[in-house]
């Protein structure tokens, strides 16, 4: 929770975490260019990336592997920032786009929309935003009633998530699209191309920019409305803005990569641990570490069952579910 006083060494450490995380993201992203079923050495892929000569190798790197890495980075950043804001907004350490069912809401909407209007294309993102917004509004409403406990809210969110995931499966089975089930249940950046990046990049940029610009206001979300108002805030407006950012970031990420889970839950906790309580530094750390985590998960997803690819969402779930478990236990003890 935000403290006004922070000591200098901590500050230096936070900068190191943010810069180090960003650099590591770039390194892992570049490394991921050399990993895939077509055996290209890492140096070859880098050379191909930098050369101007058109070649089969170059188009593989530029059109298949690079957009995938960029997309993973964008999705990671979007979900992490959405998670941080959701946790601040609901004052609930268990909040995240996935654990509150927002990802699944976007998934249901987009699956329905693509089936109803197959030529929807990138406009499916709009459907995803509507789905995410509906569930987000419901969860926010529940959290503001104050009657539901921290754990109860998370349980309600997970229940919504389970029901909506079942609905996704049912819809896909009804339309003979069972081959898409794992994607729409777990999420994946396999098969990403530049058009996906073009869909997500503006949303990520806008969401992160607004979050950064308003960081001072969003930091006060964790206070109660009365204190925030006495500090010159308009709590309802700030909260509304935060909710919109959460929905835009999560909805757009789901539209291109499916409901990748747990990134939005665990990255804010890692960030908080590493950089301390200042909201702005937490936000920057999320933007740096979210991409790192999802890129690493995607690399792992390609390696664990090589040459078969595992959806990155399964890897993040395997890593994230135990963390969720620990957080749930701690939420009770606190």
């Amino acid at each position: 929770m935000p403290r006004t006083v922070h000591d200098r060494p901590r500050h230096v450490g936070a900068v190191a975490v943010i810069v180090g995380g960003a650099l590591a993201s770039v390194v892992v992203g570049l490394l991921s260019l050399g990993i895939g079923p077509t055996g290209i050495s890492w140096s070859d892929s880098l050379t191909a990336l930098l050369s101007d000569e058109p070649s089969r190798l170059r188009s593989l790197v530029i059109d298949v592997r690079l957009p995938r890495a960029v997309l993973a980075a964008l999705v990671g950043a979007s979900l992490a920032v959405a998670g941080l804001l959701a946790q601040a907004l609901t004052r609930n350490p268990l909040a995240s786009p996935q654990t509150f069912g927002i990802n699944a809401g976007a998934a249901v909407a987009i699956v329905l929309a693509t089936i109803a209007f197959p030529s929807l294309g990138a406009l499916g993102t709009v459907a995803a935003l509507i789905g995410a917004g509906t569930v987000g509004a419901l969860m926010w409403f529940l959290s503001t009633t104050g009657a539901v406990t921290v754990v109860g809210l998370a349980l309600a969110g997970m229940t919504v998530q389970i029901v909506l995931s079942a609905l996704v499966q049912a819809i896909l089975i009804m339309n003979n699209s069972t081959q898409d089930i794992v994607f729409w249940l777990a999420g994946s950046v396999t098969g990403a191309d530049w058009s996906d990046v073009a869909v997500l990049a503006p949303a990520t940029a806008a969401g992160c920019a607004v979050a950064l610009l308003g960081a001072r206001s969003f930091a006060l979300l964790t206070l109660d409305a009365f204190t925030a108002a006495s500090l010159g805030q308009h709590p309802a407006r700030v909260a509304g803005a935060a909710a919109v950012i959460v929905v835009v970031l999560a909805g757009a990420a789901v539209a291109v990569a499916g409901p990748i889970g747990f990134i939005g839950l665990i990255v804010p906790h890692i960030a908080r641990r590493l950089v301390g309580a200042r909201f702005l530094t937490q936000l920057l750390a999320c933007i740096a570490l979210g991409p790192l985590l999802l890129l690493a998960a995607d690399v792992l997803a390609r390696l664990v069952a090589f040459p078969t690819e595992t959806p990155a969402g399964i890897v993040t779930a395997l890593l994230g579910a135990p963390v969720f478990l620990i957080l749930a236990i701690r939420a009770r003890r606190a």
């Binding site: 009633t145 919504v160 499966q169 049912a170 969720f324 478990l325 009770r332």
Partner: protein, 351 residues
Amino acid sequence: MSTTAPATPTPVVSTDPVRSAPSDGATRRAVVIAVLVVALVGLTLASAGFGAVALSPTTVLDGLLGGAQSFIVQQYRMPRIGVAVLAGAMLALAGVFLQSAVRNVLASPDVVGVTKGAGLGAMVATVLTPPAVLWLAVPLGVVAGAALVTVLLLGIAKIVGSRGATLALVGIAIAALAGAAIQYLMVVYPSYADQAMVWLAGSVYGSTPNDVVFLAIWATCCVPLIIVCASRLDLAAFDDDTQGSLGVAPASNRALFVVTAVVLSAGAVVAVGGIGFLGLLAPHLARLLVGARARWLVPAAALLGAALLVLADLTGRIIALPNEIPAGIVAAIAGGPYLLFLLLREARRHG
């Protein structure tokens, strides 16, 4: 002193079994049970009649006795229904006993991850052992998976306490982990993906007469356990001190309930996978209908579990012709909102 279990969600039903005239309540409950039996038979006939070849109830009965449509009825329709009836009843009873053991209305095997753990055990056994010994390995795997999750859950319950939503949330986290592990194995071993889908989502699709026999044997072996548990269920509703003064050992009772719940849900998972929220819904509905006394609750819950699973399967077959929605998915969509309702009502009461 109340005879309704603390696990009971509402200050249940106007008919307190002790205060109201015994014969009166008993008659009403007997009628409820009879209605449930009739409903189950009706659903069975409807389910057996529905399909690519529509059969009238008389044709179904005729087919059962070896008549004209006996092949369809005996080889396709009835095995499926038999599996649904047995597995539904087993999951519902597992819910009754687990809820009583941890004194938590939310602690049904499907909410707290026991069925997902069992599914993971089945999947691990399937990919690790040669096909020749699968008949043995899969049942061992499910029991091991279900037991492991339960031990983990009870261990955590020692830390966080077993009341309230925390235990359910912990269980859901465990279920998410087990579900992700099943999905992972599905991707790595695509040849088992169809079977894994059953364990992941829950379905009675493709049940064979052998499955019914297997499940019937498993259920029969559980009958003594069920009877013993049922006979101790009423006393288990008292707090530990009262139980002790009544000459009951609460800890060993709870252990017995847990073991029974694990064995019951494991058997159901082998055949149909985890059916979402069935083990939560059936005991709650049963308690609303007949109260918390074991002699009524246990048969009512079993009947409701069976009827609900047959209904879920029938719905899944009708709703998306010519495709089938697995019964587990239908149950999750229908049962999840009930869990939400429970949570919100709880919140309103404390809020």
